[in-house]
């Protein structure tokens, strides 16, 4: 059994309530930080832990915190990103639903480190029942003296507020999120200035993911150095993976980043293998934006090494031969799934979610959806595949925010690895309506290039 730092207590009856949570050692990190440490010492501890942002980009959290501008007399804000809308990702929901106090505890310590007296949780609007759970936890924490004025007699004041979004994936992007928090359309801002300098209401702001902020609790409890010993290389600590698609046991798992992808998919502790006794065709290991990989490239890197569930190994091979840890949304496709169709649903998603500010993203996502729809329904031409490739290349890198890239990458990777499946659709316009291309050669062992 892997070591659990976040979900260890998830199954303790009553852990959602303050009493049980506290009895199980909850809020010890607040006592430790506020009573015995300076804000900078807390930040140092987070730096030592090697914690990387769990929202998708994997940016070192301690470093991000140290960039926060601290001009005299200007408030600073911490905003918790609970927008969680990347297809395949549902881990933050799990944390908030079942361990709300863990997030609140992490928020208090982090707010202390950053000097945020008003901290906001921006939660996607569709998680409509979760604000009640969070607000209950906030009220309990306040009643116990962990929130409000002069917390634990230390002179530190802090309030936490829940802000509900209203249905827009783009509001997960940190500057769109801040616009939305300010009551505007979720149009990403041009950076710089970065939120660390001018964020919410033009004040210095840190935006962090739910899981990132929850991880601050075990970091404080066991110490940054101890936390950094778990995992491997720059993938320290534990990571929540939300697994879905054609597996036996979809769900949220906490892993330490030393297990292999193969073990994660096939062991009973995690996904429990492919559903209905089928074979693995492909997988998108880090949420819909990251490249899809065929089974052979997923389980082994081009160097022939076992691929591991960590930041470095998942991206081994770069975009042509690897993928990314992303948000930890692990989507598995079995042998009967159609990659063209799946890619079409993602293209539709990005078209739907584009905020429309940049032409390459606004127009390109629409074109990609249309062309993919044609190919999927047997109305495509061979030249469409090249056209798709061309469009995605013209979106990538030419937009205000990374949603453009996020829309381009899944299409690029699908064509790169599954071009024959796209061609088969074009060549068999009737047959592709009634059956799938199948597993083809995607599970064949990798050809290992021998060095010259």
């Amino acid at each position: 059994m892997a070591r659990k730092l976040l979900l260890e207590k998830a199954n303790v009856p009553g852990i959602r309530g303050y009493e049980v949570y506290r009895r199980e050692g909850g809020y010890a990190s607040v006592e430790k930080a506020l009573k015995n440490m300076t804000p900078d010492q807390v930040t140092d501890e987070v730096k030592k832990s090697g914690l990387r942002g769990r929202g998708g980009a994997g940016f070192p959290t301690g470093m991000k915190w140290s960039f926060l501008a601290k001009p005299e007399g200007v408030p600073r804000y911490l905003v918790c990103n609970a927008d969680e809308s990347e297809p395949g990702t549902f881990k933050d929901r799990y944390l908030m639903e079942f361990l709300p106090h863990l997030l609140i505890e992490g928020l208090i310590v982090s707010s202390y480190a950053l000097g945020s007296k008003a901290t906001y949780i921006y939660i996607r609007g569709e998680y409509a029942w979760i604000p009640d759970i969070l607000e209950q936890a906030i009220a309990e924490a306040r009643a116990a003296g962990f929130l409000g004025k002069n917390i634990l007699g230390t002179g530190f004041d802090c309030e936490i507020y829940v802000h509900r979004g209203a249905g827009a994936y783009i509001c997960g992007e940190e500057t769109a999120l801040l616009e939305s928090l300010e009551g505007k359309r979720g149009n990403p801002r041009i950076k710089p200035p970065f939120p660390a300098v001018r964020g919410a209401w033009d004040c210095p702001t840190v935006v962090n993911n739910v899981e990132t902020l929850a991880a601050v609790v075990p970091i404080m409890n066991i110490g940054g150095e101890e936390y950094a010993k778990i995992g491997v290389g720059k993938s320290t600590g534990t990571k929540l993976i939300s697994a879905c698609g054609n597996i036996n046991k979809p769900g949220v798992y906490e892993i330490d980043m030393t297990i292999s992808v193969e073990e994660f998919i096939y062991s009973d502790e995690y996904c429990g293998g492919i559903a209905n006794g089928k074979r693995l065709k492909a997988c998108i290991p880090g949420g819909s934006s990251v490249p899809i990989l065929p089974a052979n490239l997923l389980l082994k890197t081009v160097k022939g090494e076992k691929r591991m569930m960590n930041y470095e190994s998942l991206s081994d091979g770069g975009f042509p031969k690897g993928s990314m840890m992303g948000s930890g949304g692990f989507i598995v496709l079995d042998e009967d799934q159609c990659v063209v169709k799946h890619t079409l649903t993602l293209a539709r998603f990005y078209r739907h979610e584009s905020c429309g500010q940049c032409s390459p993203c606004r127009e390109g996502t629409g074109w990609m959806e249309k062309i993919l729809k044609n190919i999927d329904t047997g109305k495509g031409k061979k030249s469409d595949i090249d056209l798709l490739w061309d469009i995605q290349r013209k979106i990538e890198g030419n937009t205000i925010c990374p949603l453009g890239d996020a829309a381009a990458w899944p299409v690029a990777a699908a064509i790169r690895h599954f071009r024959d499946e796209f061609e088969w659709h074009v060549d068999n316009p009737q047959e592709c309506l009634v059956r799938n291309y199948g597993l083809a050669h995607y599970a064949d062992p990798l050809e290992i290039a021998t060095p010259a």
Partner: protein, 166 residues
């Protein structure tokens, strides 16, 4: 006339109080949610103008926000809205079949409302329940691991609640 009750107005004040002094525009999204709940499940121009007055905003500031976010309904909807997710992970677990089943069962297409005004069918993009697919949002909650039998039960349940409340 659109008008919040005193109790709801108190709620509005409490929401405004969460944000820094003078930044009451920040309360717009939560207050629009509240207005939609209170005034028939959608936002009419009258409702939006009312919210603008409450928060001391120009009406256009409210319209541009209401039209941006997918959860605000700008047209009347059925009493029960089935919002079925159709994105990749749900598709892999059969969401297309569920959508077809609901269409047949209710005799409506996507975006339509049954003549009795009870049900609206909508397809939506990933709701963060991919591991419990296929799924839909129904009001405040998610209904997960959908099967045709489960859909039947949900429809029955809605009809019963509607009858009981009439």
């Amino acid at each position: 006339m659109v008008q919040f009750s005193d109790e709801k107005l108190k709620k509005v004040n409490e929401i405004v109080g969460r944000y820094p002094e003078g930044k009451q525009k920040s309360a717009l999204l939560p207050v629009l949610h509240l207005a939609q709940e209170e005034f028939g499940g959608w936002l009419s121009v009258e409702t939006m103008d009312y919210v603008a007055t409450l928060l001391k905003l120009e009406p256009i500031e409210v319209y541009e926000v209401a039209t941006f976010y997918s959860m605000y309904n700008l047209k009347p909807v059925g009493r029960y809205m089935f919002e079925v997710c159709q994105t990749g992970p749900c598709m892999l677990r059969g969401s297309d079949d569920i959508i077809d089943y609901i269409k047949k069962k209710l005799g409506i297409g996507v975006g339509e409302t049954t003549p009795d005004g009870l049900f609206t069918l909508k397809t939506v993009e990933c709701l963060g329940a991919c591991g419990y697919a296929p799924m839909m949002q129904l009001g405040k909650h998610f209904r997960e691991h959908l099967t045709p039998e489960k859909v039947d039960q949900i429809i029955e349940e809605c009809r019963r609640t509607a009858a009981a409340n009439n």
